[in-house]
């Protein structure tokens, strides 16, 4: 058993994505079957599935119809030889993630439906990450983290990234921060698996070649008790991105391009698969940015084939054997989009919709009064490195308050310790300080989604005025706040005040805008 697992995982890094057709897997099919059976027998702890004497794993080569990688993952997880878009299948869940906003409600439903003494289906497959409302004096928010802690103690949950000392996050070695980034950093995202989370940006994990999507409390309550969920197999939209990525673009520009192309509902109920030479050249963190925002196009999941970049990232982060899957040659796609990335320009999404695409340079007259760099979308180590690169290149100071919220404790450490290339050994934090940015804040979701009134960098100012003059405010058009943000949503009220205007942008564009006080194309500083 141990040896088969070892082979499955150790052989993975050497799989060349292009060579992985049917033959690559047939040579090790006995191992993969064994691994799969072993896994499934562990999973069926609380639910009866129909008896099957023999199954034909889709990955062994006996595939009748070509399947996309999303279809293959769901076929494997539902113990079926093949599935087609539209099929409703009961899927075994590999990891369920929840946080302080939806965890207490999911736990409440679990207890109500399965009984006060019920146990979760697998104490090692539930990952609980407080991250939303942490550094706040809001009593209910604090209580919600307490509810998570009590539940994890009661259930002996293996992965609970707790925080007790709110005064100093560094005094909490277990505390991570933003769940989607922490899931990746802690090795919970693995190719070929099914990961569900009570957060719409759970789709971020698709960057690892897995099926990952967001669910509600009730569905999560069901998964807590059974380890299973009923899912409809989505059809796949394929996005082929080729061409050399210009050095002033980031993955954020690519996904804003795509959402602008297909609209905020263009991928509703669909999988979005990203392939092409540009995608292959992206780092894991950049791939995460790409998949993170598929939900902003309505997508059910985003997915990128695992390759050496993926395996290198996972090295040392997980010891769980995994089995990557890849789309078949003959897989059927609902539609294919092609982009020549070398021709793209830095983009923003204007208020109040992520598909309200414009070129950054077209918005150069938009005066801004703050910049926000953070969140699961734009608060990773490389996002801060990118911002630091712009500040370094300019040598200037920011003209508007610039808020920095590292996603996780690990990112925070990187900001304070990793040297920025070409900076003579300076770290991001030193460069930010010299540029006049706010001191990097404690890692959490921060003001990306507004949150309690005392949330750091929340767009509050107009709010007081709103209460006083809320009938007049829209007539006078005063007190509007304009923010360039590396986050993911710019719907009304997303970052606090309803009339706040949010321009979504890459960390390059956000940093460039901070330097001028206007929405700014980063090429002004990077070339």
């Amino acid at each position: 058993m141990a040896s088969s697992s070892a082979i499955a995982s150790s052989s993975a890094p050497f799989i060349n994505k292009k060579d992985v057709g049917l033959s690559a897997f047939s040579s090790q099919s006995s191992f993969s079957v064994q691994t799969a059976r072993q896994r499934i027998s562990k999973k069926i702890v609380s639910v009866m599935t129909p008896q099957q004497t023999q199954r034909t794993p889709a990955t062994t080569g006996s595939v009748k119809t070509g399947m996309t990688m999303t279809e293959k993952i769901l076929a494997k997880a539902s113990d079926k030889p093949e599935v087609s878009p539209g099929d409703n299948v009961w899927v075994n869940v590999d990891v369920l993630m929840t946080h302080d906003v939806c965890g207490p409600g999911s736990i409440g439903i679990f207890k109500k439906e399965f009984g006060q003494n019920a146990k979760v289906w697998d104490r090692e497959k539930l990952v609980i990450i407080p991250d939303h409302y942490i550094f706040t004096s809001d009593e209910r928010a604090n209580r919600n983290v307490d509810i998570l802690r009590d539940f994890c103690t009661e259930q002996n949950i293996k992965y609970f990234y707790d925080i007790k000392d709110l005064g100093n996050f560094r005094a909490n070695p277990d505390y991570k921060g933003v769940c989607h980034v922490a899931l990746a950093q802690e090795g919970h995202c693995r190719p070929g698996e099914v990961l569900l989370g009570t957060d719409s940006h759970t789709c971020t994990a698709g960057a690892f070649g897995q099926f990952a999507t967001g669910i509600g409390n009730t569905d999560a309550g069901f998964v807590l008790g059974t380890g299973k969920i009923l899912l409809k197999v989505p059809p796949t939209l394929r996005f082929v991105m080729d061409g050399e990525m210009p050095d002033y673009l980031l993955a954020k520009d690519l996904i804003l391009q795509i959402i602008g192309e297909i609209s905020v509902a263009g991928a509703t109920y669909k999988a979005m698969e990203f392939v092409g030479s540009t995608v292959e050249s992206l780092t894991m963190e950049e791939r995460m940015t790409l998949c993170n925002m598929v939900v902003e196009a309505g997508g059910k999941n985003g997915v990128i084939p695992a390759d050496k970049t993926t395996y290198d990232y996972l090295e040392g982060r997980t010891s769980v054997p995994y089995e990557p899957v890849y789309s078949d040659e003959g897989a059927r796609y609902l539609k294919e989009y092609r982009f020549d990335v070398s021709k793209l320009e830095p983009l923003v999404a204007k208020p109040h919709s992520p598909d309200n695409r414009a070129l950054a340079r077209e918005c150069k007259d938009v005066k801004i009064d703050r910049v926000y760099i953070g969140s699961c979308t734009g608060g990773k180590t490389e996002d801060f490195m990118a911002a630091a690169k712009v500040f370094l290149a300019s040598g200037k100071k920011v003209k508007v308050p610039t808020f920095l919220v590292p996603a996780t404790q690990k990112v925070w450490m990187d900001v304070y310790s990793l040297p920025v290339p070409g900076a003579g050994g300076k770290t991001c934090s030193q460069i930010f300080e010299e540029a006049g940015c706010d001191t990097p804040a404690s890692p959490s979701c921060g003001a990306c989604l507004g949150g309690p009134k005392d949330t750091y960098a929340r767009m509050n100012e107009a709010q007081a005025n709103y209460y006083l003059f809320y009938r007049i405010i829209d007539l006078l058009l005063i007190c509007y706040r304009v923010c360039v943000s590396t986050t993911n949503r710019n719907f009304p009220g997303r970052m606090g005040h309803k009339e706040g205007q949010i321009y979504l942008a890459s960390p390059y564009t956000a940093a460039a805008s901070a330097l001028t006080g206007y929405v700014t194309d980063p090429r002004e500083f990077l070339q």
Binding site: T49, N144, I147, G216, T226, L230, A265, G298, L449, F491
Partner: protein, 252 residues
């Protein structure tokens, strides 16, 4: 038998049923049986098939809605509140209120008081009056992509807690649709045409399930709705758990 008991109990079927805690890690929970999936399994589906049986009985009486059951259909009658396209979950329930836990009855009630309070000031009429927990509008009419954004179940819960019986929109974001069905809080109905531009907040409307239509009594116009299909009985039962008990998937 068990199913019929649950049926007559309607929403009260949604009561806790102590399941046996897991004894050994390999043992299946005997109280839960999942059916093998065939094409007839109820779809939690956006692309809902034509229902075989259009009979839908009310799951509960919404505060301001006046559901009436006839032999063949359910109707919801009340005032409508009209919104536009891409009403995201931050507008339905702003993030600052997500500290309220929907499974806690007091906090459930409170969520209702904040329903749709995130709409910008371009909406001059408040959905829930200050100091109230429920809305006088029992039917929300929207445009495209209603409920986009976060996966917060607080969104359909806030609407349901405010007394909304049904949302009638051109289309829905996936997670909101699924959460509406899973919780049984509101019927997410789809219109065939863009009625959000033809109805005004405060119009008196009736939603007839049997006829799959919405009647605006104020303007005298009628609109065709898409059938909700197999998701209907799940909402009628009061959500997936209640439905599973009612149909014998989970023993009572």
């Amino acid at each position: 038998m068990a199913a019929s008991a649950a049926l007559s109990n309607s929403i009260t079927a949604f009561k806790p049923s102590p399941c046996q805690p897991r004894a050994a890690s390999i043992n299946p929970l005997p109280s839960i049986k999942l059916p093998s999936i065939s094409s007839n399994y109820p779809l939690i589906s956006h692309f809902a098939p034509t229902p075989k049986n259009p009979t839908v009985t009310p799951l509960r009486s919404a505060a301001a809605a006046a559901p009436e059951t006839t032999n063949s259909s359910t109707t919801f009658h009340g005032l409508c509140y009209v919104v536009g396209d891409n009403i995201d979950t931050d507008q339905i329930i702003p993030a600052e209120y997500l500290t309220l836990v929907p499974s806690n009855p007091d906090e459930y009630k409170k969520l209702g008081s904040y329903a749709l309070c995130g709409l910008p000031s371009s909406y001059p009429t408040r959905f829930v009056e200050p100091g109230e927990f429920t809305s006088k509008y029992s039917i929300v009419i929207g445009g495209d992509n209603f409920g986009c954004g976060s996966s917060r179940e607080h969104a359909p819960v806030a609407l349901g807690a405010a007394g909304v019986a049904a949302v009638v929109a051109e289309s829905y974001a996936r997670i909101f649709f699924r959460n509406s069905v899973s919780t049984g809080e509101v019927y997410p109905l789809e219109s065939e045409v863009r009625i959000c531009e033809e109805c005004k907040t405060g119009d008196v409307v009736t939603v007839e399930f049997g006829e799959s239509r919405l009647i605006n009594h104020t303007t005298g116009k009628e609109y065709k709705l898409k059938p909700i299909g197999d998701a209907g009985p799940v909402i009628e039962a009061g959500g997936i758990f209640a439905y599973a008990r009612k149909t014998g998937m989970i023993s009572n």
